[in-house]
């Protein structure tokens, strides 16, 4: 695959959640770490939409923050267009930073309430020195029209807009530095469905128009299916499955993916029998040994309690489950290099 835009290898992030030093000494406790992401690897190709799904606490947003450089990884490597991201070199990061942008979940929190919309959108243009003088104002007006607002809205403040309109402003700001890659962290989960449809359609149109590559992060499987080409499923900080979007819904390989699909309420009223879901996500400070999903897995085996499964290639991607190595009905599978 020559046209990989972003590749992530062995990405790990731990947070120190220890008590203060004195408490640790008195209570004779060790330092405690929360592993938000553990050995996550995937690639995003140019022009595609790659989605990460998972429930709360699965580490979706932590990955997003590391990719845009808001958080430094504890281990692992992020390469953007063949170039490794160097968190220690401000100048190198700055050069890369123009090429990717982020859209956040909450449009009420991500726009500065004391800035006019025009200034919010123009900030990346000034920061990266892309345009000067009257050209900036013209560009802001053009961007507002691109996202379906009017150029005159530049003089208004964020509070004058509804949630959906604010998300359009956030998109216009993301587009202003002319990025190739946009990380969208739950871009529609704060919006009503009819507004969500408007924003999702807009995101698709912009992708076609500007040849954008998206990393879409969402907990909503139907949104993910609608928007993406490939999907990665996260559970407790690990990628359990990566698959082609359509295939994932037809033939989920990992038991967790299967469970997640079963849990989605069915609008088609097909009356399908669903396997009852059991249990909840365990505490990430103390994850279960072996495969993190084993306490909830209906197919759990002895090996699952001890060994972390390695990702195996499947027909439509890869999955990390011991079942795949045990099941001889499937063809011999090679571990992913």
């Amino acid at each position: 695959m020559a046209d990989v835009l972003l590749s992530v290898k062995g990405l790990t992030r731990r947070f120190d959640v220890s008590k203060p030093w004195l408490n640790r000494v008195i209570e004779r406790e060790d330092r405690q770490f929360l592993t938000a992401n553990d050995d996550v690897s995937f690639e995003i190709r140019k022009g595609e939409t790659f989605a990460l799904v998972g429930e709360s606490g699965s580490g979706k947003s932590t990955i997003a923050k590391m990719i845009v450089g808001l958080l430094e990884p504890s281990a692992g490597e992020i390469r953007f267009d063949g170039q490794a991201m160097d968190f220690n070199s401000g100048a190198a990061m700055r050069k890369l930073r123009r090429r990717f942008q982020m859209i956040f979940q909450d449009p009420f929190a991500s726009l500065n309430p004391r800035w006019r919309v025009g200034d919010i959108i123009a900030e990346p243009i000034h920061t990266f020195g892309l345009l000067t003088g009257a050209a900036v104002r013209q560009e802001v007006g053009r961007l507002l029209e691109v996202v379906g607002l009017s150029a005159a809205d530049a003089a208004k403040f964020p509070h004058e807009f509804s949630g959906g309109q604010r998300q359009r402003i956030a998109i216009a700001r993301a587009l202003s530095s002319r990025p190739e890659f946009i990380v969208c962290d739950e871009p529609t989960s704060a919006l009503d469905v009819s507004v969500q449809a408007q924003i999702l359609n807009l995101m698709r149109d912009l992708q076609d128009e500007f040849g954008l590559t998206y990393l879409l992060i969402s907990h909503d499987l139907s949104v993910v299916r609608h928007m993406s080409n490939r999907i990665g499923v996260l559970y407790l900080g690990r990628l359990v499955e990566i698959a082609d979007a359509k295939q994932l819904f037809v033939e989920p390989q990992h038991p967790y993916t299967r469970m997640l699909l079963d849990a989605v309420p069915d609008l088609a009223l097909s009356g399908r029998r669903r396997t009852p879901v059991t249990g909840e996500i365990p505490n990430p400070i103390n994850p279960p040994p072996g495969c993190a999903f084993h306490p909830r897995c209906p197919h759990v085996m002895d090996i699952c309690r001890q060994v972390v499964p390695a990702p195996m290639t499947t027909t439509s991607g890869q999955a990390a489950c011991h079942l795949l190595t045990q099941d001889d009905r499937m063809q011999a599978r090679e571990p992913v290099a």
Binding site: N201, S222, P265, L267, L269
Partner: protein
């Protein structure tokens, strides 16, 4: 037709403000039959939660019921004195709120909160109340209930907490449970469990449910009938299958089209242009007319009333005006 358990007639809720009176609910009428699950959907600000709050008498001032009637099993409850309403709340109408953390008191154990509720409404001994509480927790699926009952709310996970809240709502064996976004704060895998528990336990006890949510999927899985609210007015109400698969009101049609599903193949979602009007700028005539693709002159002038359609459905839209349909031949 047997008498419905709950009957809401022309309910009007208003908020007096400095800039005039805002009408948040405008002549909303519906019934909930014995043992029925009625879903109430709408976008934020449509008045879903307000409907629930008005029924249970928990409207926050300055909001007030400015018109209409609410009947619970033939008894009018919208004009009851505070003290009388207090006895209905909890005893005859149970409530499940969205956020389980705010509906449980963090300073009391689950046992204390449950037994207090049981003993307030039912005349039983402390010991009997505790026994009932354990049975309830066990029923809502809390493992090792007899031990966990002495834990504080913060010892439970989000899903388990919502189970406790359901147990609390059902403690006094109410006839009606109002569940306001009971699963919105939960993950999908937990949401499915909570919905199943709520559905099963209410069916078992013959309690009716008014399920308020913005999630059409949850309604499809749970409700018998669904009511669609738009800008404080009922757009459509009818059996779940009919409304979801063959919506009649243009708003419902747009709403259904805008939801991405796991089976659809369309490249683009249907979108309704614009946004729901604010309460101080509800258009005359039909509230949906500026966004409606099938708008007619009449929609801008006259407000359509909820009118009966075949199959037990009611729609408030001029497209289905019988007089006009007859004229069309």
């Amino acid at each position: 037709m047997p008498e419905p358990l709950l009957s809401v007639r022309d309910l009007v809720v208003e908020f007096p403000t400095r800039r005039g009176v805002l009408r948040a609910l405008d002549k909303v009428s519906f019934d909930i039959a014995e043992g029925e699950v009625l879903g109430m959907v709408g976008e934020s600000g449509a008045g879903k939660s307000l409907t629930g709050a008005a029924i249970i008498g928990l409207l926050e001032p300055p909001g007030r019921i400015a018109g209409g009637e609410i009947w619970l099993r033939g008894e009018r409850i919208d004009n009851l004195a505070r003290e009388k309403m207090r006895r209905i709340r909890g005893r005859r109408i149970g409530m499940v709120f969205q956020d389980p953390l705010t509906s449980l008191n963090p300073l009391y154990t689950v046992a204390e909160q449950l037994t207090e509720t049981i003993r307030t409404h039912i005349d039983v001994s402390e010991k009997e109340a505790r026994k009932r509480a354990i049975a309830l927790l066990d029923r809502v699926g809390i493992p090792a209930a007899s031990r966990r009952i002495d834990d504080y709310p913060h010892h439970f996970s989000g899903g388990m907490r919502q189970r406790v809240v359901i147990a609390l709502a059902l403690a006094a064996e109410p006839e009606l449970v109002i569940a306001d976004e009971p699963t919105t704060a939960l993950d999908v895998s937990v949401q499915a469990q909570i919905i199943d528990v709520l559905k099963e336990i209410c069916a078992e006890r013959g309690a009716s449910v008014m399920l308020i949510t913005h999630d059409m999927g949850v309604i499809a899985e749970t409700a018998d009938r669904v009511a669609v609210l738009y800008a404080g007015r009922l757009a459509e109400i009818g059996p779940v299958r009919d409304v979801i698969q063959a919506a009649e009101h243009p708003y419902t049609v747009g709403l259904m089209g805008s939801i991405p599903t796991l089976t659809q193949t369309a490249d683009r979602l249907t979108q309704i242009p614009g946004a729901m009007p604010r309460l101080n700028a509800i258009p005359t005539g039909c509230a949906f007319n500026p966004r409606c693709t099938r708008v007619m002159d009449r929609c801008r002038i006259d407000r359509p009333e909820l009118a009966a359609r075949p199959g037990g459905r009611q729609v408030s839209c001029w497209l289905y005006d019988t007089a006009m349909e007859a004229a069309d031949g």
